[in-house]
């Protein structure tokens, strides 16, 4: 386990900035004087309290399965891929949001994109190909995706037109159970 390098940190933050509006809250000092840090272990990036990270230094690299919140994984080409486990952090400071109706929640959780007919409401002034967090109508975060159309274009779209491409959904906790935390 090690801290991220300059380049790695930039890639991770760049990806997070697609979905979040306020990044500074990520490293803001906590009330007890602690703070959150980013750690890398086996290509997976963890968002963890510094005190916990310091405790974990006594655990060997191979023996350490996971700690804190797994944000995602660094690919071999040096890019960063967000996992569904990062959803609570993304949902806290989401830049753009889409609320899906009851009839649209299940198709989304089974891994399909969001069509216009399933959208309950969406954030205004959302551009095309921008990260957005998907919520149910009861404000429960279900996953995240990338907008297929801008808000103005999406209004003119027919009901079967795709408005959001799925990136991750809560169904992955079951579907990708084997590979989500290791492998």
């Amino acid at each position: 386990m090690r801290p991220l390098t300059d380049q790695e940190m930039k890639v991770v933050l760049d990806k997070l900035a697609n979905y979040m509006s306020d990044l500074k809250s990520l490293i803001a000092p906590l009330e007890d004087g602690d703070r959150y840090v980013f750690r890398l272990n086996h290509n997976r990036v963890y968002y963890v309290k510094l005190s916990l990270a310091n405790l974990a230094t006594c655990v060997g690299r191979d023996a350490l399965l996971s700690l804190g919140t797994c944000l995602g994984k660094m690919t071999k080409s040096g890019k960063f891929r967000l996992h569904i486990t990062a959803l609570p952090i993304l949902a806290r400071g989401a830049r753009h949001k889409i609320w899906v109706k009851e009839n649209g929640a299940q198709p989304f959780l089974y891994g399909s994109n969001i069509v216009k007919a399933h959208v309950g409401r969406w954030s205004e002034d959302c551009p095309e190909h921008q990260g957005c967090v998907v919520y149910s109508m009861a404000d429960i975060p279900l996953g995240f995706g990338v907008t297929a159309r801008s808000t103005t274009e999406a209004r003119r779209l027919d009901p079967t037109g795709i408005v959001c491409f799925r990136q991750a959904d809560c169904g992955e906790y079951l579907r990708d159970e084997d590979t989500l935390f290791a492998g």
């Binding site: 090690r2 801290p3 991220l4 390098t5 300059d6 940190m9 930039k10 933050l13 760049d14 900035a17 697609n18 990044l23 500074k24 990520l26 490293i27 000092p29 703070r35 840090v37 002034d125 551009p127 095309e128 921008q130 801008s150 103005t152």
Partner: protein
């Protein structure tokens, strides 16, 4: 020297041995060169002196010696005449290994940098989207206007045809036929209903 020397070429050895001493002598006391130095050069020297150049015997030799010799660095030629792969040249004096970002200050500067960059990108995206939207709106309006004009024109022609028909009923039979011909042509052009033409056929059969 002669007995210890090894001769590789049998044919070359006697030649060199026989002509070696005499050749040297010849070169030092060559008649032709003597004549050149004694006779031919003297008038030339005088000519140069007239022009005002100091005639030093060593000057020409110096010029020949001072042939510029450049090093590879001066010419800008790379040491290896090939592409140096990335990663082979490492800056000296730099520390080996990765540089981690863990302290709050560097993290916050990096955060601010990334956020500003992303904000700029999103803003430019939004601006572009708005501009495109404006253009689309303008085009839509233009198309609507054109459509309205076309409809108005169509209505006008329809009205004109109706008026003509009314006049034709009041007028003579020939006039009616002419009207019919015109109206059929126009109907074909505008692509209006076939029911009217049927009616006329019926009326023609009655006549």
């Amino acid at each position: 020297m002669a007995p210890t020397r090894t001769v590789k070429n049998k044919h070359a050895a006697p030649k060199a041995g026989s002509k070696g001493g005499s050749g040297k002598k010849r070169s030092s006391t060559d008649g032709v060169s003597k004549s050149k130095s004694s006779k031919g050069k003297k008038p030339a020297i005088s000519a140069t002196e007239v022009k005002g150049r100091p005639n030093l015997p060593g000057l020409n030799k110096d010029k020949k010696k001072k042939l510029p010799v450049y090093t590879d660095k001066e010419l800008g030629i790379p040491e290896l005449n090939m592409i140096t792969p990335v990663g082979v040249t490492k800056p000296r004096g730099k520390k080996k290994g990765k540089v981690f970002v863990d302290d709050r200050e560097s993290m916050s500067t990096l955060l601010a940098l990334v956020q500003a960059e992303k904000e700029g990108q999103i803003e430019s995206k939004m601006m572009r989207a708005r501009q495109l939207e404006e253009i689309r709106e303008a085009r839509r309006k233009e198309a609507e206007k054109k459509e309205a004009e076309r409809r108005a024109e169509l209505e006008q022609t329809k009205e004109a045809i109706r008026r003509k028909r009314k006049r034709g009923k009041k007028g003579t039979k020939d006039g009616q036929e002419e009207d019919e011909g015109e109206s059929v042509k126009e109907l074909a052009a505008t692509g209006s209903k076939a029911t009217k033409s049927k009616k006329k056929k019926v009326s023609f059969a009655e006549d």
